[in-house]
């Protein structure tokens, strides 16, 4: 497997959807190609850091306010009938 082929399969590999043969070839490539190993490892870390970051969490007070606004708009919509949105 060449570096360009590794890159082509990187997303499938990280998502765990590679067939066994390609997976073995890819892991064999990673065992001797340090650059591709680093790209694979740091891409995986990138995903994990974003996934675990709790970026843009909805604060409880805002959450309550939004939900109440949503439900009140839904009630108004119901009263006015389906042509209102």
């Amino acid at each position: 497997m060449k570096c360009s082929e590794f890159l082509h399969e990187l997303t499938n590999y990280l998502d765990g959807v590679l067939d066994d043969t390609t997976k073995v070839e890819l892991e064999n490539h990673l065992s001797w190609c340090h650059n591709c190993y680093v790209v694979c490892d740091t891409t995986k870390k990138t995903i994990e850091i974003y996934r675990d970051s709790q970026l843009y969490e909805l604060p409880d007070d805002l959450r309550t306010r939004l939900r109440s606004a949503i439900m009140s708009k839904c009630q108004q919509h119901k009263k006015r009938g389906p042509e209102s949105v």
Binding site: C3, S4, L7, H8, L10, T11, N12, Y13, L14, D15, G16, V17, E27, L30, N35, V38, V39, C40, D41, T42, T43, K44, K45, T46, I47, E48, I49, Y50, R51, S53, Q54, L55, Y56, E57, L58, L62, R63, L66, R67, A69, I70, M71, K73, C74, Q75, H77, K78, P82, S84, V85
Partner: protein, 214 residues
């Protein structure tokens, strides 16, 4: 090195029952759907709009649209995927209104030559995120993802942050599966490269703090 495990939020088994009750006019069932997905919709909206007030508007508009169009929901896909599609469209509309000089579209011209190797291949420090405080890290992650085209960051947030499958992401964005995969690869590689400025292993010691502009 294994595959990434996606976190799944909330059981989906009784989602259909809630949707059917809401269709019959049970507002408490709809409120439960809001409670179940409001955090996800807010996160997606803020990732796309990069603006908190806009994200708040998107959450309200998306749920109101879902409520008023519930009768049209065919139940062939998951309610959540349908809701995400509505929310993404609302968020992109916000972005278009703010940046009319730039076309904002999921179909924008995006390079897809997957064989272009990354330029920066320096390794990272072990546990690089621990070099920063939570607040600093959030600032870095937010600034970094802001630099991505909307089409890239939308796919990234749905797949890698929210844990939708490739097929669900394709359905929510009305893109083909290969298009989702191609954008996801580019998004992941671009984020990796940009984060490297902050997380790179330093020559004079692993634990040393990066300043992000070298």
């Amino acid at each position: 090195m294994g595959a990434i495990q996606n976190k799944l939020e909330g059981p989906v088994t009784d989602e259909l029952a809630l949707v059917q009750a809401a269709k019959k006019g049970d507002d408490s069932a709809f409120e439960e759907l809001v409670r179940r997905y409001d955090r996800n919709v807010f996160r997606i909206a803020q990732h796309i709009t990069q603006n908190r007030e806009d994200a708040e508007d998107v959450v309200q508009e998306a749920f109101l649209k879902a409520y008023s169009n519930l009768a049209k929901f065919q139940e062939q896909s998951k309610f959540y995927t349908w809701l995400v599609r509505i929310a993404v469209n609302e968020a992109l509309m916000k972005l278009r209104r703010k940046k009319p000089e730039r076309t904002v579209s999921l179909d924008e011209d995006i390079k897809t030559e997957d064989d272009s190797l990354p330029r920066e291949i320096a390794d990272w420090s072990p546990n690089p995120e621990q070099q920063y405080t939570q607040a600093e890290l959030r600032e870095i992650l937010s600034k970094t993802i802001q630099g991505l085209p909307p089409g890239f960051r939308t796919v990234f947030v749905l797949r890698d942050v929210e844990g939708l499958s490739t097929e669900e992401t394709a359905a929510a964005l009305e893109l083909s599966v290969p298009a989702v995969k191609s954008r996801l690869l580019r998004a992941r590689l671009q984020l990796r490269e940009r984060l490297g400025r902050f997380f790179q292993r330093r020559e004079n010691g692993d634990g040393e703090r990066g300043d992000g502009d070298k």
